[in-house]
Amino acid sequence: MKALYFAWVRERIGRAEEELAPPPDVATVGDMITWLKTRGEEYAYAFENGRTIRAAIDRIHVKHDAPISGAREVAFFPPMTGG
């Protein structure tokens, strides 16, 4: 699946997107955040307050308990500040 990062999540990780293949026990968005934090300091920093991070699957807002199976695109970002 494709992972996308925006705003300071993107800046902390140091990239805007990447292809990822999470292990099979990574079932939900929350699991994915926990798994991402193990991938290096930059991820640990980006997700240090993991519960404040918002997520979207295939461009639709989801909560952290949403399953990621079948997702083509999973995005992580801070609370939005548009408008």
């Binding site: 925006f6 705003a7 979207a56 461009r59 970002f77 939005m80 500040t81 548009g82 408008g83």
Partner: protein, 152 residues
């Protein structure tokens, strides 16, 4: 009444008058038009500009979902939502909502609903670039904007 909302995500400025005209010109059934324009402030000279990041594709999709929800809730004749991204200087417009209806209440309520939801659900992020130091920092989400959703 099948109204197709106008949804645009763009870097270039927009013109409020043009958008009102696009919605209302030549029509004789509209009784009320409400516009909301959100502008970039310089915060007392502190800001050089805002850099607006967005999630291409999802921004348009989310704005469309909020617009469709507004069209279901209120009897609108027309609806326009435009949001800019990229560098925006103080005094320039960032976001525009235009609503048209028979009576004023629907137009006002729909415009407020749209702005409340865009603030908290449209995937845009503002970074402030300071005038003095050229330092930059991400804007924090306002608690009031989260609370504003509760009334709908």
């Amino acid at each position: 009444m099948a109204v197709a909302p106008t949804i645009r995500v763009q870097s270039e400025p927009f013109d409020t008058a043009t958008e009102i005209a696009a919605l209302a010109t030549g029509r004789t059934d509209i009784g009320a038009v409400v516009t909301f324009t959100g502008l970039c402030r310089d915060e007392g000279g502190r800001l050089a500009r805002l850099d607006l990041e967005h999630y291409p594709g999802m921004a348009e999709a989310e704005m469309g979902r909020v617009a469709d929800e507004a069209l279901q809730r209120w009897p609108l004749f027309g609806l326009t939502v435009i949001h800019r991204y990229g560098p925006i200087r103080p005094g320039e417009p960032i976001v525009l909502v235009v609503t048209a209806s028979l009576h004023r209440t629907a137009a006002f309520d729909a415009a407020e609903f749209l702005m409340d939801y865009l603030k908290s659900a449209a995937p845009f992020w503002k970074k402030e670039v300071l005038a003095e130091s050229s330092e930059a920092g991400w804007v924090d989400a306002r608690h009031e904007d989260q609370q504003a959703l509760a009334r709908w």
